[in-house]
């Protein structure tokens, strides 16, 4: 299933916020057409790493290479153009727009009509629009939301919003898709469906970097797991090996109690 | 040298007024995240009220001053209760238009009561100007500085020492948390409006003797006070004071050395400069949303 071409390479990346070192000396590779799970306790630096890869802020040190090319200093939208798309932990849809329009915005980097083009509305623009619409409907079908194409995305139930966001990310025709806790807030059957979708996406040639707390999902679909703890990489390897890794066990079990306490605090 | 000192004095006088107006803006921004475009109109009400009470009804200065403050403060609280609190989804644009509506309304009221004429009144005391190294410092300027300093010190003590002041600070930092620990946030907002508009009234009453006051004087004063607040850092008491004096002095120097026509432009050029270079203001530290 995986071949040997390296799609994303992270080399000695550091990132600090004020005095807090959120990431220290992170390096790993992501192979083409693979699913890589990025796991770690809360505060391990997973979201920070996502934000570095997607260009939201720059790394202090180190290099990120995509398709063999350094992408340090690229801006968010440029990286989408290169083929890196993402979803957000707290679903960031364009709520006043319909489901279909959301996906069509997702195609922004793959369509070219500008301000003047849209005013003149020449035949090639009309064609482009029609093609975009067709593809958007295909994507809605892929996630099973074609019936709700003309519903405002903000009115959809949460689980569907997640699926819509996934479809929107796919609309950018990415080579690398970053999913930030895609199963959070989904029930068991929805999570299972999501796992299937993620596999299908991989089989169509898209590599995936997945941050997910649902271990069943992560372990079952990932080809490789990278474990972060307190900003450092503590393990990397196939799911089986990582599960039995002692450093990982220590990080997780040692943290588990603290996390439970933390959770009960925030709930009350 | 003498010339510079003269400009400096007039700058400090105006600056003190801008500072007081700016403090009003900052207080409201802190407690409600709102820019009150009607603030200048409360300054106008303060000036005209003071003139009517002291020159018209021949009231003694001190009660006239206090009544003016109380009356305008009450008007400000009424404004909050009737026009700001009922807004269910306070968006920036909506609040801007409401306060602009209020400013038009208050200007209309001012015109109804005082007509379209301009008024002035004698200075608070009849001392002749003080001579400092050849430059003349008006007695009223000294009065203004004294009033502003007292007021600032009072506000500082109020925020630092009194329970109410601390509660207001808490509201400004985190309204929800303040509400949870039992601070009556609605009253705090009301109080903030009362205090801020009373500050506006002080500004108006203090400049009444050295300017011509009419129903339309508020708009430009309000906008400049606002620039001063931005200059120092929106939401900060000392920033507002600093911004006010800075604006007053630079403006006076601009009038002296460049051109009097461009006086009004100084404030806005400074505003843009601050926004572009340091949007949090000179002393502000709050992170400004900049994507």
């Amino acid at each position: 299933m995986t071949d040997n071409r390296i799609l994303l390479e992270i080399k000695n990346v550091d990132k600090a916020f004020g005095g807090i070192r959120a990431l220290r000396d992170i390096s790993f590779c992501l192979q083409d057409r693979s699913i890589t799970g990025l796991i770690g306790p809360n505060g391990a630096g997973k979201t920070t790493l996502f934000n570095l890869i997607t260009g939201i802020f720059p790394a202090d040190n180190g290099e990120i290479r995509f398709n063999g090319r350094s992408v340090n200093g690229f801006r968010v939208h440029e990286l989408v153009g290169l083929g890196i798309a993402r979803t957000f932990q707290n679903v960031e849809l364009f709520e006043s727009m319909t489901a279909l329009e959301n996906i069509m915005v997702g195609m922004h980097t793959r369509t070219g009509c500008g301000m003047i083009g849209s005013i003149l509305r020449l035949p090639n623009i009309i064609n482009e629009e029609r093609r975009a619409r067709t593809k958007a409907i295909d994507l809605l079908k892929f996630v099973g939301l074609e019936k709700y194409a003309h519903q405002k995305s903000g009115d959809l139930p949460f689980g569907w919003q997640r699926l819509l966001e996934l479809a929107r990310a796919l609309a950018a025709e990415p080579e690398l898709l970053l999913l930030d806790e895609p199963a959070a807030g989904l029930n068991m059957s929805e999570t299972r469906e999501l796992g299937g979708l993620i596999r299908q996406i991989r089989d169509q040639g898209v590599s995936i970097l997945l941050v997910e707390h649902d271990m069943n999902l992560t372990m079952s679909i990932s080809d490789k797991i990278v474990v972060l703890d307190q900003g450092s990489k503590i393990a990397e390897g196939p799911p089986r090996a990582v599960q039995s890794d002692e450093a990982v066990m220590a990080a997780y079990l040692g943290k588990a109690k603290k996390q439970e306490q933390h959770a009960s605090h925030t709930k009350s | 040298m003498q010339e510079i000192l003269q400009y400096f004095f007039s700058g400090v006088t105006n600056g003190a007024i801008y500072a007081v107006i700016a403090v009003g803006f900052s207080m409201l921004y802190n407690s409600t995240e709102l820019i009150n475009f009607a603030h200048g109109e409360f300054v106008m009400l303060g000036a005209l009220c003071m003139i009517s009470l002291s020159a018209g009804f021949e009231m003694h200065l001190v009660p006239a001053f206090l009544i003016t403050m109380a009356a305008v403060g009450a008007a400000g609280m009424l404004f909050e209760r009737l026009a700001i609190r009922p807004v269910r989804h306070p968006q920036h644009v909506v609040l801007i238009i409401i306060t602009v509506g209020a400013s038009i309304f208050l200007r209309g009221i001012g015109m109804l009561i005082w007509g379209k004429d301009s008024y002035t009144m004698p200075p608070f005391s009849a001392h002749s100007p003080v001579d400092v190294a050849g430059a003349k410092l008006l007695a009223q300027s000294v009065w203004i500085l004294v009033i502003v300093m007292t007021l600032t010190a009072g506000l500082h003590l109020f925020y630092r020492r009194s329970l109410t002041g601390k509660a207001m600070t808490a509201c400004a930092v985190n309204k929800k948390a303040a509400w949870i620990v039992g601070i009556p946030t609605k009253w705090m907002v009301l109080l903030a409006f009362g205090l801020a508009t009373a500050m506006g009234a002080v500004a108006g009453a203090s400049i009444a003797p050295i300017t011509m006051s009419s129903y339309g004087m508020g708009t430009i004063l309000g906008l400049k006070g606002f620039c001063a607040a931005m200059l120092g850092g929106l939401g900060s008491l000392w920033g507002a004071i600093l911004g006010g004096f800075l604006l007053g002095i630079l403006e006076a120097m601009g009038v002296g050395f460049v051109s009097s026509g461009l006086k009004d432009a100084t404030a806005f050029v400074l505003l843009l400069a601050v926004l572009y270079v340091r949007p949090q203001g000179i002393v502000g530290s709050r992170k400004v949303q900049r994507f």
């Binding site: 997607t54 798309a85 364009f94 195609m107 509305r121 067709t134 | 909506v94 200007r107």
Partner: protein, 335 residues
């Protein structure tokens, strides 16, 4: 790359697409016919003048709505571009005897260039700070128009602007001007509708809903915000150009802070992100002061009260606000 395609559904969608544009064409034709009928029927010079002003204000509201309603970027200094358009053509045609037909692109171009220069630093700001940046810019332009008296005529204004003329064709009657202005309005409505309904328009609306997310799907938010700011400035300058040649006189008072606020009010009362709402808001705000003359000295008080009341109770604007009220009424009746 994804699921197999099913043609029947697609055809349905494409069908509805062309239905949509056909329906839109009908609306434009109805609008044009209505304009022609009104233009031919109304003979009273005062009414014609009012209608022309509604047209100019519609252009202004439309231009700001693109920026504020759709892209979500507030501007409290939009009258500056209106003023730049008006003064540019005034100075060129009266002082330098440039034909109006050449002054038009110069006026629009000048506003666009200014928007470009101002927009780069200003559009980095958000929320109140953006409002204040644009306010400061508007005030500066206003002061420059007032103080640069050797060119602009200063506070008392600029007189002697010639009527619009292209070769032998001179537009000086009220009726002709009415047709000209409303033709421009229709043109701009079509232009804006097309933009809103395109890739660019979707990206604009995306910025409005969430700038972060818009960038994350590949929208160059900085560039697009600047583009729409420039477009909006150009449209406002067009209104300024038409205004100058209508009145033959411009003065700085017309383009001050309150004028900017009036444009914002038109957009909000008409309804943000609504093209036809701009027309409604502009009509209302043009006619309201005329009606309020009846209140003589109470005029300002009543105007202020109306503004406040509408915004407190119908913050989504009159058109949508009334619809909301109707919805609520229907729901309570259903129960």
């Amino acid at each position: 790359m994804c699921a197999p395609r099913e043609l029947s559904v697609l055809e349905k969608f494409n069908g509805s697409d062309s239905m949509d544009s056909r329906y839109r064409k009908i609306v434009y034709i109805v609008f044009a016919v209505a304009v022609v009928c009104i233009g031919l029927a109304v003979k009273n010079a005062y009414y014609l003048q009012m209608l022309i002003f509604i047209g100019l204000n519609t252009l202004l509201a439309l231009s700001l709505n693109m920026l504020m309603g759709y892209a979500g970027q507030i501007s409290l200094g939009h009258a500056a571009f209106y003023g730049i358009g008006a003064y540019m053509t005034a100075v060129l045609t009266a002082s330098y005897h440039v034909p109006p037909l050449l002054a038009l692109p110069a006026a629009i171009g000048a506003a666009m260039v200014v928007a470009w220069i101002v927009g780069v630093p200003t559009l980095r700001l958000t929320g109140y700070y953006l409002g204040m940046g644009t306010l400061g810019f508007g005030m500066i332009v206003h002061i420059v128009l007032r103080e640069w008296s050797s060119v602009t005529g200063g506070a008392s204004g600029f007189v002697g602007i010639p009527p619009l003329a292209a070769g032998p064709l001179v537009i000086d009657s009220e009726q002709h001007y009415f047709f000209l202005v409303w033709a421009m309005v229709l043109l701009c409505i079509i232009m804006c509708t097309r933009i809103i309904d395109s890739r660019v328009g979707r990206a604009l609306r995306a910025i409005h809903d969430g700038e972060m997310a818009a960038a994350a799907v590949g929208v160059n938010t900085k560039k697009l915000k600047l583009q729409v700011f420039i477009l909006s400035a150009g449209m406002a300058a067009l209104a300024g150009f038409l205004y100058a040649h209508l009145i033959y006189f411009v003065s700085p008072g017309t383009f001050g802070f309150l004028a900017s606020i009036r444009i914002v009010t038109m957009v909000v009362i008409g309804g943000m992100a609504s093209i036809w709402g701009s027309l409604f808001g502009a009509s209302l705000l043009t006619l309201l002061p005329e009606w309020l003359h009846a209140f003589s000295e109470f005029e300002m008080v009543v105007y202020g009260l109306i503004l406040m009341t509408v915004m407190i109770f119908l913050p989504r604007g009159l058109t949508r606000g009334v619809l909301d009220l109707f919805e609520r009424w229907r729901k309570t009746n259903d129960r």
